[in-house]
Symmetry: C2
Subunit: 325 residues, 2 copies
Amino acid sequence: MRIALDAMGTDEAPASEVAGAVAAVEADPDVHVVLVGDERRVSAALKRFPRQNRVTVVHAPDRIMASDTPTSALRRPRSSINVGLRLQKTGEADAFVSAGSTGAVMAASVVLLRPLRGVDRPPVATVFPTDHGLTLVADIGANIECKPRQLVEFARLGAIYMQDLQGIERPRVGLLNVGTESEKGTEVLQEAYRLLAGSDLNFVGNVEGGDILRHACDVAVCDGFTGNILLKFYESVAAFVVRKLAPDLRRNGLREEIQDRLRDLDYAEHGGAPLLGVNGVSVICHGRSSPRAIQAGIGVAARAVRSGLVAHMARDLAAAREGRL
Amino acid sequence: MRIALDAMGTDEAPASEVAGAVAAVEADPDVHVVLVGDERRVSAALKRFPRQNRVTVVHAPDRIMASDTPTSALRRPRSSINVGLRLQKTGEADAFVSAGSTGAVMAASVVLLRPLRGVDRPPVATVFPTDHGLTLVADIGANIECKPRQLVEFARLGAIYMQDLQGIERPRVGLLNVGTESEKGTEVLQEAYRLLAGSDLNFVGNVEGGDILRHACDVAVCDGFTGNILLKFYESVAAFVVRKLAPDLRRNGLREEIQDRLRDLDYAEHGGAPLLGVNGVSVICHGRSSPRAIQAGIGVAARAVRSGLVAHMARDLAAAREGRL
């Protein structure tokens, strides 16, 4: 399979992307990575690695910066995000991975790949490492305010994702709320609770902020505002804990060992954030992605392609629409 | 000063409360704690400590449970929450501390103590231990949805709290949002940004989820939904990290040392959650409060009384109302 990788996304572009791509094809003989970006710079970075047939380059001279507006990639057809997504549209690639501006990748993915029928506003999701496995949180920022129906869509898409990519049979869906009782939270959440409880999904009820790390559910549903605040807070925890424990760890020569173990808390290491519910695969990685995180993002995209995630979502949405679930 | 302490709040009531009260009066010769609860049970628990003149008991036979409705304390005049708050109303106590049902303590406090003039909906706040000090987060659950004006009130009340209780000269106020630019977030947040930027407060702009532990502000303002999710998530982090690191720590005999250091992450150890903007002092502690956490809650109440926090808030609100700021 061919995965288009935006080579101009990370702060260290294209070095992180190139190293991540090389590692990904070495780890998976089915994967071919198409690096999309400034051809000269990308090829120069590639020279540092042994020649690898399954890494190729497609030229895209324009780079979208974090300071650009979300619609910029759409308005700039020669940007690496636009070129990369169009490779998928034309069938030259099966998936797209980018560590570029989240807003720009989201907007361009929705417009160029199109939402699946039955999806109002595609959410971005990501996994939180917890006690006993991963919990997918959706949405983490694409939709700041949500209607009850949208939250149900997030639940459905998230459940299929965890089924196909993590092999979880009937993913437990929780609604992130300020209490477990059905009447808790805003009217939107009360109505979402009612809809989820009446759906075919394996709804376990409301979950609270403290339930996530205890792995109370496989999919935690929330609006993009709440998810974004929570994700960024979580991202800051590992480094904070290391700073907090630094004196003890230094004294006992444990710093690196502990840092290594806490690296598992880094969601980037688990493959970035897929945009769910579009007619294609688009995975958004952190702007500070290491080669390892880029490789993980490619790995998620490859698993999504291999499992037929998009077709599965389309089937499930159609069945839900027709009341067959 | 006299602090009324709900003796029937914690899961271990009245044992935790009694031990916390005794520790508090031993630590502060100005403090007299009035234990409010089932007289026989409280007196029995007190017998385990050396006689202490500055700990007395007021009988309140009714206990509000976590499963009771928020208005239950108001409807049950002989409940420890109701009796304790009325002691403050009649001048027999200067402050009230409870580890009982958060909803019940909030509702009863607002009705019995009354909001200060200029306060629409009193927020509950609590401090998050961060890298370089404490960040007060307000609201953490009293007001699930907020108007822009309310968020500005939370900012004002929170700033005075951090000034009086933590000695911070001009507390930096941040608005919790999904990005730093003024146009980020919901319309409510955009308008709150505009109001805060035009106020006399030391507004540092939007802060993101990852900025809190980096101590980007002294007061982080948000609606009670977001604050509640974040607080409960934060509460779950220390235990999660300890579980995560358990193998390394056990091997190196470091478990207790690390656990001890992470205890500082427990907001309860810093004194629970004050209800801000009412005409009195009401501090809500966690239902699982240890005697140490109860003592910390009493300590916060004592500092609030000593600093004249309520009068300061009333003065500042009047000045803001009259455009004198």
